[in-house]
Structure formats: structure tokens, C-alpha cells
Amino acid sequence: MANTIAPNNPAENSAPRQADVRTEEMLVNMGPQHPSTHGVLRVVLRTDGEMVLESVPHIGYLHRCAEKIGENVAPYQYVPYTDRMDYLAGMNNNQAFALAVEKLTGLEVPERAKYIRVMFSELNRIASHLVAIGTYGLDMGAFTPFLYCFREREMLLDLFESACGARLTYSYITIGGVTDDLPENFVDVCSEFLDYFEPKIDDYNNLLSYNHIFVKRTGNVGVVSAEDAIRFGLSGPVLRGSGVKFDLRKAKPYEIYDRFDFDVPVGLPGGTAEIPRGVVVGDCWSRYYVRVKEMVESVKIIRQCLRDIPDADEKEGVCNKKCKTVKLPDDEVYMEIENPRGQLGFYVKGDGSAIPARVKARGPSFCNLCVLEYAGKNCLLADIPAIIGSMDVVMGEVDR
């Protein structure tokens, strides 16, 4: 299927494109209420006919000063607030904050809880990428893949619900472990889901990834080179889409990621292997496709977790008993993890009391979004939703 796509005309590739659609300059306000801005993002576009000469993102519409709240509550009370930052990847956010506090206080995590954490953060990665892929299809005018993605996501949410009772804001991973042990039969139900889910990824590819129109809309659009990606501090699929094989789970393994065997997908040039022609490294399609491939890798990790997870230890439980009484030393820590959107970092500074002196979240969406000003230049108006969608930003975490 991929081979039937004609190569893009090379002359068409060099920006600025199509000089004949220029008329006169106009400022267009896109958002904050706009279906393809994925929340309350406002972008001011300086347009000239169909051409966008400049796009300036304005953020802050969802600002709740989550960092100030962090200075007023104990760490275990702050965990639910982290859910509400990146609300599509609550588990990963809980994990990032929990790891930061554990590193600062030296709190031990039970072995079984570590496996549960990795398993759920990978399941959440799949759930988050399903939303990213589905809504990206919506942005590009493909409605059906969205329904397929949400069908599978629903099953994942059922799994989360069975473990912690919540479907979106879990607070399941907490300081010192997880709040509750796995429900009965979870291992069987989860492996059943994985067996069902894995072939579905091919369906998404056939429905959306290799769709001719989709490739035309996203291939060679919003290209970010590897050097620029690092310069702008991009991370996650946005960085790897630019051909940078950097993943914190490999680069600086946290939790127990060094025990698992998995690959890190990166953006590849079009025409090779399964990559359609017309795609270049660092474009919207590459960023999108990295997410598809990451789901396959997550399935691998979860299978290994299910295989290796130790049995419940009655005495130890799944959460450190000191999680609510722990005092933060007069010290500071910065801890990063690989969230579905990129590197989520928490800077936590203690002052000897039980309440942190400062909590700062380095949101991957926040850092990834700053490249929009650079990538959304001298492109077509229709490319703007393609570029924003491929960044997969969650405004709750951009604005915090």
C-alpha cells in the first residue's frame, strides 16, 4: 500500500511554498476555543492568503497555579494535583512526582509495587497515544480511526478502573508505592487485552498511517531538524520523530526499566521499510508514527512485567508505610521520567518540614509547544492543525 504513493515534487518541498496564493497580510486569531487546538490554546497567525508567515502561541488559559498548591500540601496530598496536569497520562504524572519525592527522602518502594508502576505507566502510555493518534486523525479529517482508538482505550480505562476505581485521574501511583494491590485475575485480564490489542495496531496503520490523504497532509510538513529539536529542548515522540534516538527509559533508566528489553522507535526517511514516500525525518508524520510504534514497545514491556512480577508480600504490602509521615530534608532534587509526551521533570525543594518549599513541574508539552513559533512559519494554513496535532500537547500541563 505504501508503495503506491507518488514521491513529492522536490521543488514543492523547499519553503516558502506556492507564491501564487499570496494576497495581503492579515492577522488571524485561532483559538482559544478551536477544535484542533486540543484544549485552550490560542495561536495568532500572520497570514498572507493561504500562507502563514508567522504563528505565535499564547498560553495560560488553563493556569491553576499548581506549583503554588504544591507549596501548601504534603507530597502525598499533591499526587491528585499531578493527575490534573497531564490528564491523559495521570499514571505517568503520579510516577514522576512520586519518584522525585522518593529520591529526595530516600523512601524505599516495595519490589512488587515497582512492577505495578511500570506496568500501569506503560498501559497509560498506550491509552494516551491512542487519544493522540485518534484525535490527530480527526484534525486531518479522518473520523473513523478515532472511534477505533477509543474502543480500545475504553478497555484500558476499564483495566485502570478495576485497579484503582478511577478512569482518568487515578492517583494510583503514590509516594512509596501504589495505593492498592492488583485486583484478582488482573494478570490474565491484562494479557488477554494485550493479545487482543496488538493486532489492532495494524488496523490503525491501514486505516490512518498509510492513508494517502493523511500522508499528503502530514508528510514533509512542520519539519524540525535533530539539532533544532535538541536546541529547543524538545523531548518524547517529538524529539524522536526528528531521528534522535533518545529515551529516558534507556538513557537514564529510572524505576526498573533497565530490566526490560524494548526498542526506541525513531523517525525514518520515507521510502525505506514501512515508511511511505513523501515522508522526511522530523515531519508531522514521523512524530505521529513514533507514537504508533511506541505502543508496540509498550506492549512488549507490559508482557515482561506480567511475566516477572513477584507475588504479593503480606508484610511489605505495595506501599511504604512511611509515605504519609515522611519529612522532606533541607535539600533539592530534580527527577525526570519519560511521559507519553516527553520528559516530565519535577524539581522538589524541601526545608525540613513535611511540606515542600518549592515544587516545579517541567512539562513536556510546555517545552514542545515552544517550537510551534519556529515550525509554524512559511507554511500553509492547513498545515497549522497538522503541526499542533503532531506535537500532541495537553494544555492542562502546558499551563499547569
Binding site: 495560560g60 503554588k68 536546541r231 518549599a357 518549592r358 499551563d399
Partner: protein, 177 residues
Amino acid sequence: MSFEEICQVLKSQFGDAIEETAVDSCRPFVTINADKWSEVAAFLRNDDRMAFDFLQCISAIDLLAEDKLACVYDLAAISPVSSTQDMTYLRELAVRVVTDRNAPQIPSVAHVWAAADWHEREAFDMMGIDFPGHPNLERILCPDDWVGYPLRKDYAHPLEYHGIPGTTEHELKSPRH
């Protein structure tokens, strides 16, 4: 290259600009004089021994007891770009730049790391630190006409903003403090 070795190089290069090295911290950090920060940052970015090309985060902190504000820069050097080999962090470094609380000024490093642009705007918005040399230092999360810097420890939140009450009737009747 360990933290001590990095500090050694910095000390031999910049001498007094390196004010303090907190080796025993959970995550060691080096304190650098704000006046020299711009030069040190360029050195950290461009020197072959350092090559800190990835700015992870800038966290503005309020040191109320010392009557200071500070920024903490978390830097990392990434191994050469590869699409086949797993890349890693070669080294990491945390830098603290302390500034006066009454006229807080830290030179901008947005020209050194493009990622610093938004981080510095956030620090300006939330903590009120001025970054001379920044291309577009405006509030980023709060509205442009917001008064005060919310993350300062002595911040008092406004009681009214464009007709929107900042406190509820219930709170007025039974104040929390």
C-alpha cells in the same frame, strides 16, 4: 566527567564567578555569580569538555530567609545524535544563580539555549525575575495586566480582578488566617 571535575574546570576558567559547590546535596549543584552567568553559560554550551547542549529545566525559587531569589538551571550533555544507537546523558549539571530580591536580574541565556526562552518568561511571570537580553520578556501564564508574582512566598492574591472577586463571601465572613 564527575561533578567535582566539572567544578574544577569552571573554577580554573572563571575563578571567583564560581561561588559555591554543594557536593553533598541529593543532587549536587554549583552556584554561579549572576554577573558572570552569561559567559559561563556560553562556556558550558560551547566548550568541548562541557558541551551541555540540552537545557532540561529552569526552576525559579524564592529564598525568602536570605532575602534572595534564584534560578536553578538543569543542564545535560547528550551523546552525539544517532538514529540507530540508544543515546544517553553523558553528564548532567545543576547550576544555581542567585540574585537580589529587590531588583532581581539574571542575564538571559535564551541565545545560548533556545529552550530557555519560555522557561525564563515563566520565571519572570511567576517570580518576577528580570532577564536582560531576553528577546520577548512578557508574562506567559498570567494575563498581561496581572499584578504581583504568584510564586513569591510573600505574594498576596488580589481580592478583585476585572470585577471577579478573588475571595468568596464565606471566606470574608470567616477568614482562614
